[in-house]
Structure formats: structure tokens, C-alpha cells
Symmetry: C2
Subunit: 396 residues, 2 copies
């Protein structure tokens, strides 16, 4: 059985994904991190009218010849008010954001003027159009500014607000059931017996999935017992859109997840050419998609970030889930292997440092730094080489 390259594994999983949620209409204040279910199309020009970029005086440039000329101030235009047309051979006092009166073609910033309540002397003008933000400069009516499938960030929400929309149509949050398996697992806060270890993957998965905006359904830790597992997995398939387990999918006699999922649906063990990250399983339980992560914490983290994330977001309607790595010089040497490795690193101004211990059992390797270097199969890294870096934050 040959190994599946990482990119193919991501793609294969993605091509198996389908939209698992309905859409709903939600208020602007609740839509951070949500995925748009329909395009945002501008119903207005932004700004809706020419307006002033400065505090100063609006006039018709042709009405001004030289600094000695005084212009009568015929109106005062504050932001939020609607000005009348500019009287010929006069100036209008105007403030930032206020609408340009009809007939004016320039705003002179007040620093270049002297004036009183009634008249203004311009010391230095400029070109027609100066300090005027034209109507529609930001967005033209009818333009599609955000597409269905886009995940909303703060600035997107600002943009939607600027168009006057107070709700958006978004895909419902994906419900993800998490189950940790392993008879050796004890919950934090309890006493530990010889042979036991604390359950850490569960908390890590919960934090990651919640941070992605999914609704986590926590089904806790279950023993490696076929009957218990069967009951939990059936329950998970009824309440969740996707089921994620950690542990229990290797070929050991004590790993019952495989048999149980097989009996309730189907399961494929994937040998992905990824390190850390083995073993990974994909299947379904009574028709509900199932992802089986490795039990090793670093492997669980890497497969969740790299392999599972695109699948989960696609299931919630996100259009593009690709992450573009950035480049930094390596401050280390490391020969390549047959698998695509995700090396735990720390970014500094001069380049990326490697954590000394890249074992999949060592979770501390993922907390020590701020990201991972992707070392492709067969790629030997020498100090000074530009390497592909993915800061953890880019997975958010």
C-alpha cells in the first residue's frame, strides 16, 4: 500500500465533502468568522456623494485668482447635512466627511487659508478635485464586494455595514462531535494512576474547533470498548454534522474504533505521507462523515490543521480554504525524508529556528514556537535556504 501525498489527501477529502448545513440570516454583530451564503452586492455608491477629505473651504477654482482675493463665505456645511448649490464667486466652509456643494470643484485645506466668519483668503490652491472624495470611489452600486463562501473578518463586516446592511445570509455553524478514545486517558483535575495519562487532545480539539466557529458537541472520553464506542458513535451521528475522534485507529488489537465505525458505516485507513500525522482514517457513521485522528497529540494537531480543516470549512460552505505559506530563511540544517514534514519552528527577524525535538509525542514542540515549516518529501534544508513557513495563526 503506497502512501498518499499530503496534497492528494487534502484534495481527496475535499472532493468527498459536501455542504452539510443550511443558511440563516444573522445580525452583523454575530457574523465574525461566519461564511457568507450569498454574495454581498452594493445597493448604493460608497461614498454616496462627493465629500470633503479635509476641514477647509469648498469653492469653484475658477472663482479664485490670487491670495489677495477674499471670497465671501456663503454657507457652512457640516458632516451629515445636505448643502445647497454653491453661490457663484463664494466659498463654503466645509468639514471632513461633509458633502461637496453643487458647483464646487475643490476643497482648500484650512491650513492654507485665513478667514473669519464672513470671508476667506486662500493662500495656496491646488488642482481641481483636490481633497474631494468622489462619489462611488470605494464601491459602485451593483458591484459584488464579497462572494458567497467568504469567511467574514472584521473589515468585511465594516464593509457590509458601510453598504447599509444590518444582517447577512450565512451558513449555519457546522456541528462537530468530538470523541477521545483510550482506556489510559484520565480527565485533567483528577488523580492519575500508574499506566494512565491525562487527556489532552480533547481540550486541544475543542479549542481549535470552537476557534474556527464550529459548534462543538463534546462526547467526552470513551474506553476502547466496542459496545461503549458503538453507542457513542451512533449518538454522535444523530446530533452532529461531522464526527472527529482521536486515537484508536491504528492496527492494534486494542484499537476498536475501526471495527465499530465499519460496523456502523464505513472506514478507510489512509497512509498519508505526512509527518507527524499517522494514522488517519476517513469514513462515515450512519451517513455522517467521520474523521479519525491519531492519538499522538502532535499528530492529532497537524492532521486537524492540515488535513481536516479544509474539509470541515468546505462542509460549512467556505469556498477557498487554501493557505499560502510565506518564506523565511532557515536557521537550521535538516535532511529530507520520504514524507512531507511539518517542522515546529519559531520565527525571528533573521529567520526560523527549529525546535530540537520533532517527535510526535512531544506536544511542547507545538507550544514552544509560533508555526511550522513545510519540508517537502526529499527536500534537504540547509541553513540560509528560504523555506515555506505557516504561522499557526494562518490556520485560524
Amino acid at each position: 500500500m503506497s502512501m498518499i501525498p499530503v496534497d492528494q489527501a487534502i484534495e481527496r477529502l475535499q472532493s468527498n465533502s459536501r455542504l452539510l448545513v443550511d443558511n440563516e440570516t444573522i445580525g452583523l454583530k454575530l457574523c465574525r468568522g461566519r461564511v457568507l451564503a450569498s454574495d454581498i452586492v452594493a445597493g448604493i455608491d460608497v461614498p454616496p456623494a462627493d465629500n470633503s477629505a479635509m476641514d477647509g473651504y469648498a469653492l469653484r477654482l475658477a472663482d479664485w485668482q490670487e491670495p489677495a482675493d477674499a471670497l465671501e463665505i456663503s454657507q457652512r456645511i457640516t458632516a451629515g447635512t445636505s448643502p445647497g448649490p454653491l453661490k457663484a464667486s463664494t466659498a463654503a466652509r466645509i468639514f471632513t466627511g461633509a458633502e461637496i456643494p453643487q458647483g464646487a470643484d475643490i476643497v482648500i485645506m484650512q491650513e492654507n487659508c485665513r478667514g473669519d466668519e464672513k470671508r476667506v483668503w486662500i493662500e495656496k490652491a491646488g488642482k481641481a478635485g483636490a481633497n474631494i472624495r468622489p462619489r462611488g470611489q470605494d464601491i459602485r452600486q451593483g458591484a459584488t464586494v464579497l462572494k458567497a463562501g467568504h469567511r467574514l473578518r472584521a473589515q468585511d463586516i465594516g464593509l457590509i455595514a458601510s453598504l447599509g446592511f444590518d444582517t447577512v445570509k450565512a451558513w449555519r455553524r457546522l456541528k462537530v462531535a468530538i470523541v477521545s478514545t483510550g482506556s489510559e486517558l484520565v480527565e485533567p483535575g483528577q488523580a492519575i494512576e500508574p499506566g494512565q495519562i491525562y487527556n489532552s487532545n480533547h481540550y486541544m480539539m475543542d479549542a481549535l474547533l470552537s476557534g474556527w466557529g464550529f459548534e462543538v458537541i463534546d462526547l467526552g472520553v470513551t474506553e476502547d470498548d466496542p459496545e461503549v464506542l458503538s453507542e457513542v458513535m451512533t449518538r454522535a451521528s444523530k446530533v452532529a454534522d461531522v464526527i472527529i475522534t482521536s486515537g484508536g485507529v491504528s492496527v492494534g488489537e486494542e484499537d476498536h474504533v475501526k471495527d465499530v465505525v465499519e460496523s456502523l458505516g464505513s472506514i478507510d485507513l489512509w497512509r498519508i505521507a505526512i509527518k507527524p500525522g499517522k494514522p488517519f482514517a476517513y469514513g462515515q457513521v450512519h451517513g455522517t462523515p467521520f474523521l479519525g485522528l491519531p492519538g499522538n497529540p502532535v499528530s492529532a494537531l497537524v492532521t486537524l490543521l492540515v488535513i481536516s480543516r479544509p474539509f470541515l470549512f468546505a462542509s460549512q460552505g467556505m469556498r477557498s480554504t487554501d493557505i499560502v505559506p510565506l518564506r523565511q530563511p532557515a536557521l537550521f540544517d535538516k535532511p529530507g525524508s520520504t514524507r512531507q514534514e511539518y517542522l515546529r519552528i519559531r520565527s525571528r527577524a533573521e529567520g526560523v529556528e527549529l525546535f530540537s525535538q520533532q517527535s510526535s509525542g512531544v506536544l511542547y514542540s507545538t507550544t514552544w514556537g509560533d508555526g511550522m515549516v513545510v519540508q517537502y518529501a526529499g527536500q534537504d534544508i540547509a541553513r540560509g535556504d528560504a523555506v515555506d513557513v505557516i504561522p499557526y495563526l494562518l490556520f485560524n
Copy 2:
């Protein structure tokens, strides 16, 4: 009045910051994005005992000579159980994660063995220690694994869980009051009149600050009216740890925020050498720190990300708020200016593309792409130059 370089502005603001919150003990499931108020020190070794990295057989290497030798299977060790010492000249059936019995010094993976219930034949051994994860490999008892002031990510939470802690001591969430000013502002969802524009900064600020884990106290939009402003600012100073406004801090006659804040406390207008980003104000209202952001949406976003973010996180106990930019080749030419510019860009595999319109009024410039290039004062950028890139996600 000379302009303040960006780095100095950040530093000056930071040095004015002080911890504004108490600490509290919270459950592991609530601590994503929270800042640690005390160090996390390991009370145990992780793993707590030598354990098997594989499903296979544990034995004393000296007990095995050649493939023809069969070893009696004297015990079966599953994860979560506590094994007895290994009987001389025997092997123990062992599973991934299970504790290594006293006396064994190697685990042979099952793929290299043939066996039945009673005996096992080893086809290929290895070196002593193979497939054994030693006690304390990840973390040694007494080690400080995370320091006070660290902001918790999913993997940190996993690490804390692996040490058996079910709570952490974290700093309380910072309460940030937001106030938008401007008589021209109308709430999204309502009809707009000539001269008015929709309020967008407010929703953008709310999303950003909530995403950072702060508790946003929304005081809505207020007119540019001194009495109303004074009432709102006083209320803000009573309920919040920090007050943030957008708009109203330029030198115009209609900008009353400055006078009002001055009358209730103090205010400094800063001329920061940043573009977009002017004007920015810092002060206090009845002793509560006050940050005055520009009214232009892109300027508001940039000053919130670049200037205000470090101050806010420091006020909530975060130790290091620096962001290390990454490097990408520029796919554009752009001469430098006297100010440090934050250019809105989009990352592609081959480099970063520039958005055509870099005006501070154009919010669409921030939604079009995925980050900003920092163009330092006087830095001319030519196509192909490696430039400093900050993906928006790094500000999270």
C-alpha cells in the same frame, strides 16, 4: 510639530500602559485567547512513565539472539494498565501508549514479529530503547512550560491538560467601550438621507475587539455635540477599562471629542508618521485610558491593529505583543514617502500584489486581500524586492 515614528508611537503608548484587570481562575474550556496570570509549572513528568510508541512486543534485548528463538509471552499490557516486572527470558505483548514493564529495554513493532497467544518469534530487533517513549520526554516535573503573560492557543490548552490542570489563572477580559462620533452617521438597516453615510467603523471595531477576547461595551453612535459626548464619555469611563472612539479628533471646529476629553481628563493629539492612520489621540477620561481613532475606516483599522492592539493586550497582562513580519517578493513598484505606510496587498505563491487604490477612505482595499506590506519611510519598493508582509491573521 515633528511626526512620531510608528515604532516610537507603539512604544510610547505601551510604556503608558499598565495592567488594568484582576486575575481569575477559569476552566480549561473557557481559556482560549485568554492571557495567563501565572506560570504553568509541570507537577508531573510527561509521559509519566516509559511507554510504547508502537503495538508490538516488549522484551530485554539480551534475551533474544536470532529469529529462530521463540520467547514465551508472559503478560499482555494495554494502555491504561499498570504492568508487573518482565519475567526473565520472556516477552510482553504491548500496545501503543502502554507502560513499559520493568526490565524491558526495547519494543519490537508487531510488523517484525510472528506470534500466537503463547509465543513470539522476532524477525528483526533493533537497538535498546527503540520504540520506547521515555518518561519525561515531553516535559520534566518542575519545568515552566508556559509563562505568565502568554496568550493561550489550542495547543497550549492541550499542554496544560496533559499536565492534569483543569483550570488556569488568567487575567480578566479587558472591558473596552466603543463610541463612534459623527452627526453624518446612520446605523445600517435604516434609510439614508443626503449628506449621511452608514456607520461602518463601529461594527469593524466590535468584531476586531471581540475577536481579541475583549469584552466590548457598545455605547453606540453619538452626535458631534459637546453635551451628549460629555455624558457618553463619563459613562464610558465608569464602566470600561479603556475607551475607544472613532472620528472627531481632527482639528476641525466640528470635532468636539478633543475639547470634551480635555475637560474630563486630558488628551494629546499625536502626529504619527503612519499612512493611513492620521489623526490619532491618546488621553484619559476621569483616569480611564482613552484612544481616539481616525474616522476614516482604513485609518481606523490600521491604527487599531498597529498602534492600539499592543496597548490593549498589555493592559490585559500580555507580555509580548510584537508581530514578526514575514518576507515575500513584491509584485509591484512603489516609491517611499516620509511616513511608514501599510499597503493593502494580497499574497500569492509568487509574491504580493498591491491593491490599486491605497486611499484611506477605501475600505474595500482591506477586504480585497489578506494582509499588509510595511513600507518604511524612504523605502522605495521595486518589483522583486523582498518586503515585510503582515497577513491580517497575524494580528489575531
